[in-house]
């Protein structure tokens, strides 16, 4: 239960921080966001490998998106 | 490679989705045009088409340099009289687009360079009369994007005798507008072609792209390339038939605002880009860059097809 409260707290903070600073960016102002350097992991296979490696060495895995699954490396 | 050519000849009803293939040909902006798309109802399609053409005619009336009543002509006249005239957001956005073209081409794509056409007449088959360097100088003096002053919603010129010409922008932009108009009216699968400036609305209903063939300028009836389009624009700059030969050197009909001369190097460039207007200006800039055009397109990161001079 405690964690659920914490979760809402964090979400509330995140939303309120972002909502006061957000600029209504027009479609034609998104050229920079579409730049290839704005894709964090251009090579998904490398990202999969990195996350897999970390998850076999660390207690936390995932959190980026769901269903990476299938790591038989405990 | 996706192919399965489903061009205009496939005019039968698309039975799977009960959509009819409709194609309308017309003449606008000085070119033969056609609009093709799939519609559930042919009568409705005709009305859709009518709305699209209305918009095209409106754009032509607004931006034609040949029509004295056009907003563009009025702006040019007023600016030359030292006055300025109010323009709307669309006009300003086109000027801002022209500015982007100017910047990205290092000054080669200049909407004020249309005046050079007074000196070079490519319309006749007769041998080109080469203007004198004095003539060229006097025209070049009246050319320069930096002399166009845009303030609030008004346009004025810092020099007399200038003129803005949206050639290479407006027809391409009209293709994009027409595509949008089609989408707004519920068309999902279609293609707009305004004299070779093309914008796809979406592929054929079965997902196959529109395959646009690029003609071989040297051999009639032969094609040099086939470019598949789904949602993109495609535009071609350069026209083999309008090339000129001066002392054994082939020149295109595009004029450089830097030299006042036609540019040599490439005879035709086709570019595929998300918007037809971007494709069109990229193709024009590549032509203006002559021998450096290919390298520039390469760095731009677009799909292109190029025919050297």
């Amino acid at each position: 239960m405690n964690t659920t409260i914490k979760l809402f707290g964090i979400m509330l903070i995140a939303v309120s921080i972002s909502s006061c600073a957000i600029e209504p960016v027009k479609p034609w102002q998104r050229g920079r966001l579409a730049n290839p350097v704005m894709v964090r992991d251009a090579n998904p296979a490398q990202a999969v490998l990195e996350q897999h490696t970390y998850s076999s060495k660390e207690a936390t895995s995932g959190g980026y998106s769901t269903g990476a699954g299938g790591c038989g490396c405990n | 490679m996706p192919n399965s050519n489903k061009g205009s000849d496939n005019s039968n009803a698309y039975s799977k989705t009960a959509l009819q293939f409709c194609r309308f040909s017309f003449h606008a902006m000085g070119s033969p045009c056609d609009i093709r798309f799939y519609a559930a109802d042919v009568v409705e399609a005709a009305s859709t088409f009518k709305h699209v053409v209305q918009d095209i005619v409106e754009l032509e009336n607004k931006y034609s340099r040949y029509k004295s009543e056009s907003l563009l002509s009025k702006v040019n006249v007023a600016a030359n009289q030292g006055a300025s005239i109010d323009v709307d957001d669309e006009f300003l956005a086109l000027l801002s687009y022209a500015n982007a073209c100017f910047e990205q081409s290092d000054g080669l794509f200049d909407v004020t360079s249309g005046l050079l056409r007074e000196l070079w007449d490519f319309s006749t088959d007769a041998a080109i009369e080469i203007p004198s360097s004095e003539q060229i100088e006097s025209v070049l003096e009246r050319i320069g994007w930096r002399h166009v002053v845009i303030k609030d919603h008004t346009v004025s010129f810092a020099k007399k005798g200038m003129a803005i010409d949206f050639g290479g922008i407006v027809k391409e932009y009209a293709a994009d507008c027409s595509a949008k108009k089609l989408v707004d009216q519920g068309v999902q699968f279609g293609l707009v072609n305004l004299g070779g400036d093309i914008k796809a609305v979406g592929p054929h209903p079965d997902g196959c792209p529109w395959n646009v063939k690029i003609r071989d300028p040297k051999v009639a009836g032969k094609h040099v390339a086939e470019i598949p389009l789904y949602h993109e624009g495609l535009a071609t700059s350069g026209d083999y038939e309008r090339c000129v030969e001066i002392e054994g050197q082939r020149y295109s009909h595009l004029l450089s605002p830097k030299t006042g001369w036609p540019v040599a190097g490439l005879s035709s460039v086709s570019v595929k880009a998300p918007q037809c207007v971007v494709a069109g200006s990229a193709a024009t800039i590549a032509m203006l860059k002559g021998n450096q055009g290919k390298a520039w397109l390469e760095s731009l990161g677009v799909e292109y097809h190029l025919i050297s001079g």
Binding site: A14, V37, R40, L49, T66, G67 | E298
Partner: protein
């Protein structure tokens, strides 16, 4: 036609040329709406990825190959299939023994070098709507001692003129785990077979903050159930042994001696280990528990994690670069809470080059049932000396390099150096030890082709 003359071009502006034209074009009233939307790519894409992982001192090394094929189907769908194969060799620590002074030492059974193969087959379908994207993925992973089947659903909805995206995800992993009982290996447990399940749920929001910045916030809840213990790992519990050997015998030294002088390999290879393991007169695990106090790794069979991810991506025009910052916090019912800071900076250069340095810091608290060794068995009997549940910190330095040719082929090289240290843990050290510290290097090569 060869184009060699490049004079007069302004190379700095060129990289951004298309972006500049596009953003000016999108400002045109007749263009904006029609040009929106992340359309599905029309290309067939093939990716081959190969990597080598090596721990310092040749303790463990992994070679992996990964092939992915993505094909557009129909107007809005995309199908992806991928195959991964890993080959792991080396050995991993089994238990921590104590020396005569009572200091712990890892026992790594290098005499029995393992060679494990893992095969993963995965397929997914993605749907690209006008304002949304949905995907479904299933996969299966097989190893000698592990079989895992998983599936996930995810959905993203773009709202607020595509300035905001909301995503939802759900995943289920069902594992069958056993140890590939090898009677030729000392201290191996007889076969066990068990199941575990992991459910994951994710909610995320992504927001365009301004024309240079995108922010993302994800919350993931994961619940694992079943046998979550490691069948290969043992725990040394002093009170459970026959005597407390500290001050009497250097147990750790004896085992190290046995490994270093080939005694363990001799026992294993000569069949003596097998004879002992298969003998009905003697139960090796019982004997080692009675004599040495070796207990099985034993973990709670439920684990819940709340994982929060905050990501910022920021474009910097002066350097044509994108800076990506991630902070991840995990709240773990096992007590292994963690913080991850991950920085990646992509620099775009002319003619398709990209250089991406990266820095990652990870810190975790030890699990409540973890210790390097135990004096006595806790009341709940949950014990583990698995270094992955210890308190520690790790710093990774990364460098990536890629080059795209003709918009059709992209080559990638990635290098990473990972340094795990007991005393790198954020805010002091929880249970753990520097005996588990290690370093690894990873080098990857990858090529993407579009057709």
């Amino acid at each position: 036609m060869a184009v060699t003359d490049d004079k007069g071009d302004n190379p700095i502006e060129k990289g951004a040329a298309l972006g500049a034209l596009m953003s000016a074009a999108l400002a045109l009233p007749g263009v904006a709406d029609a040009a929106q939307g992340g359309f599905r790519s029309e290309d067939v894409k093939l990716n081959y990825h190969r990597a080598k992982y090596e721990e310092k001192g040749n303790r463990m090394s992994v070679e992996t190959e990964h092939v992915t094929l993505t094909v557009p189907v129909g107007r809005d769908f995309e199908v992806t299939g991928s195959i991964i194969e890993d080959i792991t060799s080396g050995a991993s620590p089994v238990v921590n023994f104590l020396d005569i002074d009572g200091d712990p030492h890892q026992f790594v059974e290098t005499g029995a070098s393992i060679k494990d193969k893992r095969d993963i087959v995965e397929a997914s379908v993605g749907y690209y709507g006008v304002d949304d994207y949905a995907s479904f993925k299933i996969g299966r992973s097989e190893e000698d001692d592990y079989e895992s089947s998983y599936g996930s659903l995810s959905y993203r909805l773009d709202i607020n003129h595509k300035r905001t995206s909301i995503s939802f995800g759900a995943g289920l992993t069902s594992d069958e785990v056993w140890n590939s009982y090898n009677p030729d290996v000392l201290l191996e447990e007889p076969s066990i077979f068990d199941r575990r399940k992991k459910k994951e749920f994710m909610v995320g929001i992504s927001q365009i903050v301004n024309r240079n910045t995108v922010a993302q916030f994800n919350v993931t809840y994961a619940k694992s159930e079943g046998n979550l213990s490691d069948p290969y790992k043992k725990v040394y519990v002093v009170d459970e042994g026959l005597v407390d050997y500290r001050g009497l015998i250097d147990v750790a030294g004896l085992f190290r001696f046995a490994v270093d002088f080939g005694l363990v390999s001799f026992l294993n290879e000569s069949g003596i280990t097998r004879f002992l393991n298969e003998s009905s007169f003697i139960d090796v695990p019982e004997v080692t528990e009675f004599l040495l106090g070796l207990k099985k790794d034993n973990r709670p069979d439920v684990r819940e994690q709340w994982i929060y991810l905050l990501r910022f991506s920021h474009y910097m025009e002066s350097t044509n670069s994108g800076l990506h910052f991630d902070y991840r916090y995990s709240d773990d019912s096992w007590g292994a809470d963690s913080h991850t800071f991950d920085l990646k900076w992509n620099f775009g250069f002319e003619s398709g080059w990209q250089i991406s340095p990266g820095l990652r810091y990870y810190s975790q608290h030890s699990a409540f049932f973890y210790d390097v060794f135990f004096e006595s068995l806790p009341e709940d009997e949950f014990v583990s000396s698995d270094y992955r549940l210890a308190g520690f910190g790790a710093i990774s330095k990364k460098l990536g390099l890629s080059k795209t040719f003709n918009r059709k082929y992209t080559f990638y090289i990635d290098y990473e150096r990972y340094d795990r240290h007991y005393d790198y843990e954020l805010g002091g050290a929880s249970k753990g030890s520097d005996i588990d510290d290690y370093r690894f290097k990873m080098l990857s090569f990858s090529v993407d082709a579009k057709f």
